[in-house]
């Protein structure tokens, strides 16, 4: 029932943290591979829970969740970790980087965590060259040797984008990555992220409450529409 070209397929996915307090109830939802999806919803709409399930940080309690062709409900914790390492990139809202590492080292992290991502490169020189190119396209080429803690928030988010993109994962999950940015920088951040994601065929699942970014995406979905728990609460 999982189609090959789906990045995300949900059927009757329910999640609760305590009895009688269901936070997520999604009867059906699907995201195509390589699709740029804008998922918006206010805080408390189950965004974090959904992202935790998609990335495999939380186990599926009930229902079917297929991510990049893998049945998450059939995988154990370490298999889900491995899937996240190999096929996903993640961008946080803020504080994305290990401040004591250089920008280069931060971007390299996913390669060190996943054989599949690092297997794209023959040797360390190739890795360095690839990261140089990637950083150049994201406008952080001159920052690679700086300590991540010294960067501005805008620069940090770009580094985070580079880290999510490195190793060409199939899905990039971004949790409000622009909320810490100035309004002028938001659009250019998303555009740069998309340009690179398209170049390497990575889909983007972008969560934000800033609807001004919506026009940039292939498709946008309100979490309140697909999450039955929220239906009616936030029209």
């Amino acid at each position: 029932m999982t189609s090959v070209d789906a990045a995300l397929e949900i059927r009757d996915l329910r999640h609760s943290y305590a009895e009688n307090s269901v936070v997520l109830d999604i009867p059906e939802f699907r995201v195509g591979k390589g699709e740029m999806l804008f998922l918006h919803g206010p805080s408390g709409s189950g965004k974090t829970t959904l992202l935790s399930l998609v990335t495999g940080v939380l186990p599926v309690q009930s229902g079917k969740l297929s991510v990049l062709g893998q049945q998450m409900d059939a995988l154990n914790a370490s298999q889900r970790d491995a899937l996240r390492a190999a096929k996903m990139g993640y961008i946080f809202q803020v504080f994305n980087l290990l401040p004591f590492l250089t920008v280069m080292e931060n971007i390299q992290l996913p390669l060190q965590m996943s054989r599949q991502k690092s297997a794209r490169f023959k040797n360390q020189d190739e890795v360095k060259k690839n990261i140089h190119d990637l950083a150049g396209r994201l406008g952080i080429g001159q920052l690679l040797n700086r300590r991540a803690g010294e960067l501005s928030v805008g620069q940090q988010q770009r580094v985070a984008a580079a880290r999510a993109l490195v190793g060409e994962p199939e899905l990039i999950v971004a949790d409000e990555p622009t909320s810490a940015l100035d309004s002028e920088l938001r659009q250019s951040f998303v555009e740069t992220l998309f340009a690179q994601a398209r170049l390497q065929n990575s889909g983007v699942l972008f969560v934000s409450h800033d609807k001004s970014l919506m026009p940039l995406f292939d498709r946008s979905v309100a979490l309140s529409e697909i999450n039955m728990v929220m239906k009616g609460k936030n029209p």
Binding site: L51, D81, Y90, L98, F100, Q112, M113, G154, D182
Partner: protein
Amino acid sequence: MTLLRILWKSLWNRNVTATLTVFSIALSVMLLLGIERIRLGARESFSNTISQTDLIVGAKGGTIQLLLYTVFRMGSATANISHETYESFSKHPAVKWVIPISLGDSHRGFRVVGTNANFYEHYRFRQDKRVVFAQGRAPDGILDVALGAEVAEKLAYKMGQSIAVTHGVTDGPGILNHDDKPFTVVGILGKTGTPIDRSIYVTLEGLEAIHMDWKDGAPPRRGEEIPASSLRKEDIRIGQITSFLVRTKNRFETLGLQREINIYEKEPLMAIIPGVALSELWSVVSYAEDGLRLVSWSVLFVGLLAMLIAIYTSLQERRREMAILRSVGSGLPKIALLLVAEAFLLTFLGVAIGISMTYGILFVLQPIIEGKMGLFIPIQSLTLLEWGFVAAILGCGLLIGIVPALKAWRNSLADGLAVRFVLPMFVLATSAVAEAKPLQVASSVSWLQEIAKEVTCGGQGIEILPSLVAPGADPHSYQLTPKGRMNWAKADLRLIIGEGIETWNEKTAGAQNKIFTATRGLNLRRVDDESGNASEGEGHAHMHVRGVSVFDPHIWHSPKLTREVALNLFNFLAPKVPSKRNDWDVCMRAFVQKTKQAESNVHKKISTIPSTRRVLATNHDSFSYFAETFGLKVVAISGISTEGAVTPGRMRRALDSIRKEGAKAVFLESSASPETVQKVAAELGLKVGGELYGDGLSAPDKPAGTIIGLWEYNADTIVAGLKP
């Protein structure tokens, strides 16, 4: 490997706590090993008090007692043995040498030992160390005496000093002194770190001599004393000694000889093997040793506990680190492993440094301790027991690491990829909150907005709103758009030129304390009537505030003043967004550099005009700063404001001054009426120069849309108009 590198850098990032932790462990380890070393040293010194002696022989009694009085000069013998017995054993075929020991007298609490030359020749301690003389020689004459090192030092006795021996063993000055036969110090022994240092050595004959005239343990009666002068060594026959030390020719014969002595028929004798007796004695005092060790283990426990606390408390602030590692694919076991590895690494470093410090200190202190305390602490590789300690400490470190590892596991499970912001308040204040909703800064005019934008790296971490007077608009008209007013009203901070130039500012709402005067502290050009080319009457409306002539506001035409404004704005804005200070600092400097570059460009351009032709005639007096900077003479068609009408009288005066200065062209100004200029040009037969930007920047897409662009544009226009 990778994880280890991350761990190392993370630790390095917390280097102060990490260093303190490592040092607390290192100190504990040092204390533990140090105490162990001292214990070993003490034990070594103790058991090495006597070496190469195979048997100690004395009257029958307790073995430890014999050891104590013979070797440690403590307690006293219950019985003596005869000199004949000693003589006969000294000639025994299995015996290599014997050293006689005769005790019983003292001097100021120090034991007097009667012995012979064998002692100085054969006695060994600490394997193969022999008794040496620091000064003088061994006692040979009847009344010769040699002092142990400690005796000489404590009593401050010198060579040649005369001392009296006390009968029996008493502390301090004696009651029954052999003061009729005083001894003379002929030698002082070197320090040995053994009880030898605390004794006084005389010959066996000497001891016999001072007791010769005694009867039944009492001093001689009057008239029965034998004068010292009549004593001769040959005449003295030694009756008894206390004990003697035996070295066998072949150590296999020791046990046989011991048995032989123990069953000696002529006299009840006892022979003991010093090593055996010493360890028997040591076991008596070893509880002290256990106590010491208990103390050092306690210290180590505290050190490890400190590490646990340090790692545990760091977990809270490292939740972000964990979440990031989770996001790139680390599983929980890896994160737990990271913490266990951290504890182990800290312990390992602590142990390694502790061991190095122990050896380092031993190396320095060993000679000092040996010299001062006579305690020899051997520098040797770690003993098996000490390796055991090291292994136990590392094991404890590993175990302790499990505690924060479990905590991190639970944290990570709860946090998932949601980074909890449990950061210090100031971090939140400056980065999370302040940058989530940046301050809004409005400027009165577009050139101020531009500088504000330049020094904040294009508005990083702060929002630079469009200026109240739009670029390209005439600032004199004060035609404020509703949008401009709105920006001005909602802005958190407002930048104005100041000096009363923005008369409209009073009309706009908002608290005055949010307003910053960008020209604060600047040395502006004062405009007055004597300047000849300045305004008169209602000439320049914005130079007049309530009828008082004030400052020339065309600041952006001066590269120097522009730089000063940039610095002012930086100094005002940077404290408001401290997290951006460093970024902005770079941008501000870059901007300053750009203006300097442009300034020198414009200089080059203007220098292509022959100096006699450098006269700038315009219909509005905006170029004083520019002219001053680049060496131009300005002739304004005075009285022709952008709004005012031209009276014939004023026109005539203007024409006169233009003619007088020899202007070659008359320039148009973007915000002024071209008719006047054209009229003047026609009247004087001059050409009409290009259009200059005097009162503000052009629309952003035109060449004079930026401050620097405006300088270059105006310079090009002036050069084109004035060049022959």
